[in-house]
Amino acid sequence: MEIIENVVSQKEVVAPAYVPRSPWKMMIQRFKKNKRAMIGLYITSLFVILAIFAPWISPYNPFEYNMKALLQAPSLSHPFGTDQFGRDVLSRIIHGSRISLMIGIVGVGISIIVGVTLGTMAGYFGGILDSIIMRIMDILLAFPGFLLALAIISILGPNMVNVMIAIGIFSIPTFARIMRSSVISIKYKEFIEATKSLGGSHLFIIIKHVIPNCIAPIIVLSTMRIATAILTAAGLSFLGLGAQPPSPEWGAMLNEGREYIRAASHLSTIPGLIIMLVVLGFNMLGDGLRDALDPQMKI
């Protein structure tokens, strides 16, 4: 009774039961409730931290030979063992996270920039431009993804920068398609029409209205594509067409370690497990972001 009296007599301000929340806050709440998504976030954050602080965290120099400790099994002083040159595998794995994450982020960055631009143009302007862009994308999709990356590497030559370019190119059609379909789904909405009738230029409408409203699927796709990019890059390096020894790239390490599979199986097992862990992390994060942003999203 006392509370009601206070409110009626306006002595006390009562917080309304309805708290207006932004879609982003709601999305973050949904994301936090999803255990798998949070595990994904923890795994990816761990690798980002490892990559940033690699030189300070790693116990040994990843390139330093130690002829007294060749092919040692995991022990306290070398938790992941040593390789055929006595190099500490843990330190190499930690340094390798820099390479893999960089390939993932730069490669996917290239596909986002090119793919989103092409997809937005195709969806927004339509007509002949749309047909031309999408036919080119169809042709790129006619090549099995990994083969396309191989083809590009065969022209540019096997090294890390070219792996990033190859991976960047092979994801472009996927981004362009997703972006195009989101743009088409909103381009006739009232708020776009309103901006047009107020005299907004195409560039203004695209940057201010179209892209922010179509970004959700792109965020999800990018996270999942980082996972694919890391796997593809490791595959290319494994075939000897990506990072070259003595680089501590995980795929390249696995390829080197394969020769010692009987004498030192940890050289093949550990880098593979690490690749799987980081890729799993990005996939779980991508799944979680999709479920939090829009569970109906088709990616």
Partner: protein
């Protein structure tokens, strides 16, 4: 049906032109003089000129492209620089291995992927669903070359059941197709699950349940039949993943297929061989996608009329 078929075949022409153009530009885009790269730094001018003539790279680009396509129609994919044999012969020699590997992996993928997907979708959010989806996620995240090495370690080193490499007998194909098929089945399982769940929530399924149709029939007759189109599409797209994965699997298991041929050709900078194999594999992929499209009209006759 025949009009649909013709229309679909006509659609194929621009794609195939694009594919040949890409394969052609692949060699044309090599920085510097490909003839010089192939001949090596120390080659004399005459040697470089011979290779230049062989590749026909003195002519303008469009003429080169026209003669390239004309040669393809004649069944001439160029001559391998490494073995001096026709590239097409080299590819056809290796094609059966790749074909058997991909088809066997496809079977593994479809069986495992479909069963896991259906098992998940019929009891969503149950333990069965969670376990099966978690395994699929692991499958998607596992590098196929690592899985190959682990299978060799387990099933040919610790348990000497299968050979670790080769491609002459059936037993050589067991481990590679298991590896390739299992690694691709994760995506199929996830997408099968989501396609089925989408259909389960539709009105006609609710009607079927309401009128007392047994759950078994609801799932197999009403839901699965309607989920077939997205599932077939995924299987078709996954065929491309298998063809790409074959490159790695053949290398891990030392199989004499086209995939390993591509890798070796890239290492030797054997451009006609790279160009030829990439053209060959992509053409097969394009034809598989065509088959998938045509199968839509059998699964769902409405598609024929709408087009």
């Amino acid at each position: 049906m025949s009009i649909y078929l013709v229309k679909r075949l006509l659609h194929l022409i621009p794609t195939l032109i694009g594919v040949t153009l890409f394969a052609f530009l692949l060699v044309a885009a090599v920085p510097g003089d490909p003839a010089q790269i192939i001949a090596g730094e120390s080659a004399s001018e005459e040697e470089v000129q011979i290779i230049r003539d062989q590749l026909g790279i003195d002519k303008p680009l469009y003429q080169q492209y026209i003669s390239y396509v004309t040669n393809i129609f004649k069944g001439d994919l160029g001559t391998s620089l490494r073995s001096s044999k026709p590239v097409l012969d080299e590819i056809l020699l290796r094609f059966p291995t790749t074909l058997i590997l991909t088809v066997m992996s496809l079977v593994v993928m479809i069986i495992v992927g479909l069963i896991a997907g259906i098992a998940s979708a019929t009891k969503p959010n149950s333990i069965r669903d969670n376990v099966s989806m978690m395994i699929s996620l692991f499958g998607i995240s596992m590098p196929v070359f690592w899985m190959g090495i682990m299978f060799i370690l387990l099933f040919s080193y610790y348990l000497p059941w299968f050979p670790s490499g080769g491609s002459s007998e059936f037993k050589h194909f067991v481990l590679p197709s298991l590896v390739l098929g299992l690694s691709a089945s994760g995506i199929l399982a996830r997408l099968t699950r989501s396609s089925i769940l989408e259909i389960v929530n539709q009105d006609f399924v609710r009607t079927a349940r309401a009128k007392g149709v047994k759950e078994k029939y609801v799932i197999y007759k009403h839901t699965l039949k309607n989920a077939l189109i997205p599932i077939i599409t995924i299987v078709g797209m996954e065929f491309g993943v298998l063809l790409g994965g074959a490159v790695i699997t053949e290398t891990v298991f030392s199989m004499n297929g086209i995939g390993r041929y591509v890798v070796e050709s890239i290492q030797f900078r054997d451009f006609p061989a790279i160009q030829g194999s990439i053209l060959f594999i992509s053409t097969i992929f394009v034809l598989v996608i065509l088959l998938v499209d045509l199968s839509y009209s059998i699964v769902d006759p409405r598609i024929r009329y709408e087009n």
